[in-house]
Symmetry: C2
Subunit: 508 residues, 2 copies
């Protein structure tokens, strides 16, 4: 075995968190930049994690009564313009199709020709084009609710991009629903926020705070926006999913109207909600360590990787046979309602290099199996989340595989929750707030901050201070959320009355 390097990822999180992130993504072979500005290539391991996220979310959506459908990639400019706040919010980042063919230029090469009468915008989100269809589909209250989700790619022209976290093109799901009453639409908005919360916590092992966004952070055109917010290991917040109550703003702009039970023409109440490949970035930053990413078992493309170790052909035969037997036995076992996913990596590579590849990819359990393990009917188990290794009788591993994976899943959540709790503080004083968000040392600018739970009232003064500190209001946590506080108080900046504390943090 090759001697282990001190850490598989350089720099460490503490040395340079943003660069650690890039190297962790690269080390796990999740994705890389493409020659197309701001667009990434999602590589097989990264895409397999996204597929697992899709599979789980898709079932959650179906279990809450939604169906999938697919709407056009292109939105006519005039449709985007219908909702004023909406177009204002997206105009600066739209990819625009203006021509529909290429022709040889006199000087060589090709130039766009066939100019379109009306430019088409590559969807940055689909409220307007989906709403146009709903306007056709909805005539009577009997046509409602419409509960549809779409898995799709969207494009928002970004100047500064980071793999998964902010890219020009990204993959997402966008739910779009229309309802007969305001109450139903509000309930739907909050139901999907709960679905996202359950997904983040139960599958990604990522504790989140759920709550309403302030006016300045709303989705363009929404009446209310709700989000789930997670604390990354640099103590910054990451918005991991949003659910929007759109009121009648879009239905008025697009004439989604119906005859209600009293025969009166009424505008529908609509919602939209989405999560994206950004979640893969969140997973990296949530659980990764200085050896690479750590994938929670419930989303891991492989639960177990088996690494055969041998020095010659004679050893090879016995070791491979044993490995295949262990694989077969593992995949006959069940974890999380599915067969355990176990692969053998028999590539002709040095054992140490091979092992470190799987460490960096965050496979929950590694089994190293050599001739001595075969002789002793045992396996040598490496556990990714705790970086511990131990020999174990084969039968013991097989009898406890589901429990072990469950334990890893729970440990990841508990560890993340403890970290967030350590770094969440009720702050009732302006100076303390400023100190909390001010770097403590020039050398390590990121070792400060976290979530500050403070009373505040909206005012230009507060906005200015927050901008200076590069701090944002993440959300107003729902009652009963960890750290929420429904006791009224006074804005720590202005002394104005405040109904409840908000979560403040630096953010991605």
């Amino acid at each position: 075995m090759a001697k282990a390097p001190k850490n598989a990822i350089s720099p460490t999180r503490e040395e340079d968190y943003p660069e650690w992130y890039q190297q962790a993504v690269k080390g796990a072979d999740l994705a890389e930049n493409s020659p197309v500005r701001g667009c990434m290539v999602i590589k097989p391991w990264g895409y397999a994690i996204w597929e697992n996220m899709q599979r789980v979310l898709d079932q959650m959506f179906k279990d809450t009564g939604h169906q999938n459908a697919y709407f056009p990639l292109f939105i006519p400019l005039s449709y985007l313009e219908k909702e004023a706040a909406h177009v204002e919010g997206f105009a600066k980042e739209c990819a625009v199709v203006t021509h529909h063919r290429l022709e040889a230029a006199p000087g060589g090469g090709l130039v766009p020709t066939g100019k379109l009468e009306e430019p088409l915008v590559v969807r940055p989100t689909s409220e307007t084009i989906i709403g146009a269809m709903y306007a056709k589909w909805v005539q009577s209250y009997r046509d409602l609710p419409i509960l549809i989700n779409q898995w799709a790619n969207v494009v928002r022209w970004e100047l500064r991009t980071r793999l998964f976290l902010r890219t020009t093109e990204f993959l997402w799901q966008e739910g779009h629903t229309a309802h007969a009453t305001e109450q139903e639409a509000v309930e739907e908005t909050l139901r999907m926020l709960d679905v996202y919360t359950a997904f983040a916590q139960d599958y990604m092992a990522m504790p989140v705070v759920k709550g309403e966004k302030t006016a300045g952070e709303r989705f363009p055109g929404a009446v209310n926006t709700y989000s789930i917010e997670a604390m990354m290991q640099d103590r910054k917040a990451l918005q991991a999913g949003t659910s929007h109550f759109l009121g009648q703003n879009f239905s008025r702009a697009q004439e989604i109207k119906f005859l209600n039970q009293e025969g009166k023409e009424t505008f529908a109440w609509t919602t939209s909600w989405g999560v994206s490949t950004r979640l893969v970035g969140a997973l990296v930053m949530m659980h990764g360590d200085d050896d690479g990413i750590v994938v929670p078992p419930r989303l891991a493309p492989q639960h177990v990787v088996i690494l055969p170790i041998f020095r010659n052909d004679e050893e090879r035969a016995g070791v491979m046979e044993y490995c295949q037997r262990v694989q077969k036995e593992l995949t006959a076992a069940t974890y999380d309602g599915q067969p355990v996913r176990a692969m053998i990596d028999a590539r002709d590579l040095r054992g140490g290099d091979k092992m470190w590849q799987h460490v960096k990819k965050g496979v929950p359990l590694r089994l190293e199996i050599g001739p001595r393990d075969v002789a002793g009917d045992s396996v040598f188990v490496g556990r990714r989340d705790t970086s511990t290794k131990q020999p174990m009788p084969r039968a013991e591993l097989l009898g406890t595989i589901a429990e072990r994976l469950t334990e890893i899943q729970q440990n990841l959540f508990a560890r993340a929750l403890a970290f967030r709790e350590q770094n969440t503080h009720q702050i009732d004083d302006r100076e303390e707030f400023i100190r909390f968000f001010t770097p403590r040392s020039e050398d390590k600018p990121e070792i400060h901050g976290g979530f500050a739970m403070s009373h505040y009232a909206e005012s230009p003064e507060v906005a200015e201070l927050l901008a200076k500190l590069k701090v944002t209001i993440r959300c107003l946590p729902q009652s009963g959320q960890p750290g929420s506080d429904d006791t009224p108080g006074r804005c720590i900046f202005t002394g104005q009355p405040s109904q409840r504390r908000a979560v403040f943090a630096k953010a991605y």
Copy 2:
């Protein structure tokens, strides 16, 4: 119950096949045109069929060693230009992004601004952008093969579109592989042709002829193109999937090269292969009848729809309870390795209207359940493929559900195969060939033709005649295919020697 109309779809297939297709798609609520020229909206029932196709194909791809990944939507113009035949083939149908933001125009409204230095083409297919990445990933023979598939949307600007069959944007999968040797790449090309054949026949219940395309019908840039061809009910051929051996054409253009085992720099051998949402259109045309579409059980979003029938609240309670029991028992049964999919349609709609909706949607089995069925512990079973109805003890249905669905699946295939065989002819005479493809009556222009298996040799004369008849060479069937014939002969048009018969047909 409402009196049944003579046929649920008007016109019938015989009256006007193209219009029947549009009405069958509409009647099943599969898809509709969007306000965006040539782009369709895939509605929930149509998308659910596509999802089932995806699920099965995805597993077949994984079982043959492929992994999914995701590449950018946009292709820089200069990348598309690298392979001459390729760009020539797609230049006339490219959507081109030229700007990346919108700004308020002086006269009101928005105009595109932020002109891109290099225009971006919305992918019509991804050989060039994926190849650019493979060039980075491949250094040594140890990096090969690369076996990747992508599920994505693509855009080809079409002037005349038809739902599913030809749309500007469509959904598809595109496999892209790179290999160290020519033989491996050829084997991959043919392996995926076999996967498509198995999918078409075993899941879509759609018999296909597989074979090589002639030079004029090759994918732009390919060395060889292979396809599967199915006969629709108007006797026209539909190309349902293609697999391309790209030789070293793309790897030379994009410098996908590696050091082989002898340490010599070599260009990789590549393939690509794809099927699209066009398959949903094929399914409609393959099995639909004058009452609407018929979905093969293995791809049906619902295997069974249960229709409760009652006249008052008192009857309602008993009927619904019984329906729920039957649903529960059905979904506890297994068909094709999965739980039987059974839904209750309890909407407040007239029974006849409701039943006909499900007929038009092609649900394999319908159970009508009223108070008398409850009393007799029976169900009234409507079978979609044969349009037969019969009462049956509940226990009998439950005990035979998997067999019944299997029988429907087999019947659909057998029926389609018999139709194709009836309409496939070896034609050895020029005049007979012309007669075969010439409409027999002005009133019913479509009742003629089919697959003609004839000897031919490429020549301008043949090309001209075929163009005049609107007939194309579909493929050169592989040996052993139904209708294939490896006996050499002479071109029926020119008398030149011919190695084997080709399949000729009018086509979609």
